[in-house]
């Protein structure tokens, strides 16, 4: 039987559970158009929060991960979905572009993480990378979506 939509939790319930589980963490909630809620959190909280979403609320569906060089660091957006969008929003500083992988919890994240690793140079700790994903075999090793590269070509 289908299990994805048997129970839908309201965002308020999820948020309350998160605050209970991580009392010392700072979460900033922002509503976005087209039914999506952004939850700003520190990089080290992404993995525990994803674990909690899976275990407690059965939210497995990670639509994708967006990597965005925002100027003050590389932003990672984990777009989850359970009849509405729930996005975990975190910012990695340039001098520490590292974050633990989610592929052992959600194997479907592998392609998204590999793409970001290749395009933006974020290291996902524990991610298996068997060679390049989209870039050619003889690519010069730079990161195509990084800001410096964009400015240079403009």
């Amino acid at each position: 039987m289908s299990r994805l939509l048997t129970q839908i939790y309201l965002f308020e319930e999820i948020f309350a559970a998160l605050q209970e589980a991580f009392p010392d963490a700072e979460f900033v909630v922002e509503d976005k158009p087209v039914d999506d809620t952004f939850l700003k959190l520190a990089p080290e909280k992404v993995r525990p929060v994803a674990e909690l979403l899976i275990e407690k609320f059965d939210i497995y569906h990670l639509s994708t991960i967006t990597g965005d060089d925002a100027g003050d660091g590389v932003r990672l957006l984990y777009h989850f979905w359970s009849s509405y969008g729930l996005t975990l929003d975190t910012l990695l500083p340039y001098d520490n572009l590292r974050i633990p992988t989610l592929t052992d919890l959600i194997p479907g994240a592998a392609f998204y993480e590999r793409e970001i690793q290749e395009m933006l140079g974020v290291t996902f700790e524990g991610l298996a990378t068997p060679g390049p994903m989209f870039l050619p075999d003889d690519w010069d090793g730079s990161f195509p979506l990084r800001r410096q590269r964009l400015q240079k070509s403009q």
Binding site: S2, T64, G67, H79, I106, F111, P132, L145
Partner: protein, 360 residues
């Protein structure tokens, strides 16, 4: 038994798109597989940062050569949300009409490819003959058979007269019994079943862990369709069923797609008969206020998601595109495990690969 490695692709014998596989065989059976993407990577996300919002509509139409309309729909929907634009109902209905026609066209195209791969050339020819009807409808509507350039930010650029509507309704009346025949063949023909039953089975657990979307997920019992679960207008006002099957094999995927095609014909009829009057588009500003948006839609292959961030200029600061094929490709190593070499083609085309989509 000694092992042999068989390369398939990148110049692909199964699909007219480049993707490389390296299969390790032990006798007739696949024991290991590796995949290499990127042969048609065009850097569309990067290109979009150098173009204006209006120019990008045409760029994103070219992400995919089959489901081109759904990409511009998702993109325009996002930009319109950032602009706070209200698209007139007639525009939304015409958009949805094209989406459904595209779904029929995509599924019939796929059925032809799948039938060809299993050696059933009769279905291949019938499916592609019937697909011509849909392509004719779309060409009459927009001027293009697969690239329609129908969407603009703020609505659609086409309109429909009452006479034209009646012509389309008659064409749909011709199409529907032909699709029913194809459905009947898929459901009951023994030689079709012999090649597709219990091939490439994915369990619901695997589907969920790999975040699979679209007909592949619905063929394994995951009841998820964004048209129903996160409806954007006019889907909240239309009635349709979401076909779900539980076998999880290549046959179930064919059934789900064919049942969906029938549903889409019904949806086209509903849209045409309830088409509201009024304008089809509104004027949009060139500069988009700062903000970010996540826009989702159900493409023929499953969930498409666009993330758009605006910095207040006339060019987007970042657009992220995730196409359904990229998600579904990740299941291939699991599906190929321990199957016979002869079934590889059935499994590969069973997920409805669109490599241009996946590579962007």
């Amino acid at each position: 038994m000694s092992k042999i490695t068989v390369p398939i692709g990148p110049q692909h014998p199964l699909l007219k798109e480049p993707l490389a596989f390296s299969l390790t065989l032990e006798g007739e059976h696949v024991i290991e597989s590796a995949m290499r993407l990127g042969y048609v990577h065009r850097g569309i996300e990067r290109l979009s940062q150098e173009r204006t919002y209006v120019q990008n509509v045409h760029l994103f139409e070219r992400v995919c050569g089959i489901c081109s309309h759904i990409h511009t729909t998702t993109y325009c929907q996002g930009v319109e949300a950032l602009l706070g634009l209200e698209v007139p109902p007639r525009g939304l209905y015409l958009r949805a009409l094209l989406c459904e026609l595209e779904r029929i066209h995509s599924h019939l195209l796929w059925l032809g490819v799948q039938a060809r791969n299993i050696g059933f050339d009769t279905i291949f020819m019938y499916a592609w003959r019937d697909r011509e009807i849909v392509l004719d409808i779309m060409e009459d509507l927009s001027g293009g058979r697969v690239s329609h350039a129908v969407n603009i930010i703020g609505g659609v650029r086409i309109d429909l007269t009452t006479e034209h509507r009646d012509v389309i309704l008659r064409q749909l009346d011709t199409l529907e019994p032909q699709i029913e025949t194809l459905l009947d063949v898929v459901e009951n023909e023994r030689s079709f079943q012999a090649r597709t039953r219990n091939i490439g089975v994915l369990s619901l657990e695997q589907i969920r862990r790999y975040c699979v979307v679209g007909p592949v997920a619905r063929a394994s019992g995951l009841d998820m369709d964004l048209r129903r679960d996160a409806p954007t207008p006019p889907y909240d006002r239309l009635k349709f069923r979401v076909p779900v099957r539980y076998e999880g094999d290549a046959w179930a995927r064919t059934m789900v797609r064919m049942l969906e095609t029938v549903e889409s014909v019904h949806l086209c009829r509903q849209i045409l008969t309830t088409l509201p009057d009024g304008p089809t588009s509104v004027r949009a500003k060139r500069r988009v206020p700062p903000g970010e948006v996540v826009s989702r839609a159900e493409a023929p292959r499953g969930e498409v998601i666009y993330y758009i961030r605006s910095d207040g200029s006339d060019k987007p600061a970042r657009v992220k595109v995730r196409t359904p094929t990229l998600t579904n490709l990740i299941t291939l190593p699991d599906q190929l495990q321990n199957i016979s070499m002869a079934d590889v083609s059935v499994v590969l085309s069973g997920v409805d690969l669109c490599i241009a989509c996946a590579d962007r």
